[in-house]
Symmetry: C2
Subunit: 144 residues, 2 copies
DNA sequence: CTGGATGCAAACTGTTTGCATCAGA
DNA sequence: TCTGATGCAAACAGTTTGCATCCAG
């Protein structure tokens, strides 16, 4: 149920004294609709443009920042010069990215395998890990 | 022996019909001197400025790009809006980064542990991994 | 009604490019 | 000599900011 998720976010906004504006609603709705995609500010802006031409690019940026801060979205960067955002899968259930060096396609994989690695690092180095980002580069099935 | 490493790179440049210019020499020398540091173009530019004020920022960018392409340097991004470069430790001996969320300090660790992970991924997903970038976020010993 | 949110345009930052000049091979 | 490399300035892309206006609470 998508709007259930949305309502949860709206709740949270209110609780933290942020206003629930139509712009914020629209942007969240877009991400819920495109669950799993990694959208840039520009892309969000362009899509919304069609149905809501009043929304400004600055508002998109501000809203994406806000949502990232509230952990509604996760901020990503694939080193193409622009930040991307994706819906943060509720509870800490990360996934990571396989980036095809040829066609640029981005595949994903879960991070269960990484937990063991984290433990080993924590044991070796005096560093408390609380998050990680992993990117693998290579060639997807269509490209080799 | 540092200039041995430098000479190797100069060799390579010549072999690939790139010219060995004083600017390229200076930039490489800087990275050799600051081995292990992650320098941004701006930083390289500012440091060189002191001893070689003629060198232009555009040249720094072009040279960093070139070196990255030749695998002399490795291009990194710590999501602070600017690219950084570090000396690429000769043969494929990667290390990865532990980024302190509090003070921004960047620690490093080797990647021997990751190999097993790669194999598991390759087995599961149809994707030929040829490189990876891993970043862990957390708190370093001074910050928790 | 009131302060936070918005839209717009201008400012900013990091990076790239066009072009005349320079210099390594 | 002659093409690739440089320096400079202008152009660019993505993002941020100032400010008058608007509207959710």
């Amino acid at each position: 149920m998508q709007h259930e998720r949305a309502n949860k976010v709206f709740e949270m906004l209110k609780q933290k004294d942020y206003k629930v504006t139509p712009q914020r609603k629209e942007i969240l709705t877009l991400f819920l609709k495109k669950d799993g995609e990694h959208l840039s500010a520009e892309e969000v802006y362009r899509v919304l443009q069609e149905s809501h031409p009043e929304i400004g690019l600055a508002t998109v940026y501000r809203t994406l920042d806000l949502f990232a801060e509230l952990d509604v979205l996760q901020k990503l960067s694939f080193d193409d010069g622009k930040n991307r955002y994706e819906l943060n899968d509720s509870e800490i259930h990360h996934h990571h990215h396989l980036i095809c060096l040829n066609c640029g396609k981005v595949l994903e994989f879960g991070d269960d395998l990484l937990e063991a690695l984290e433990e080993q690092i924590t044991a070796k180095i005096d560093f408390k890990i609380i998050d990680h980002k992993v990117k693998f580069y290579g060639y997807c099935s269509g490209c080799y």
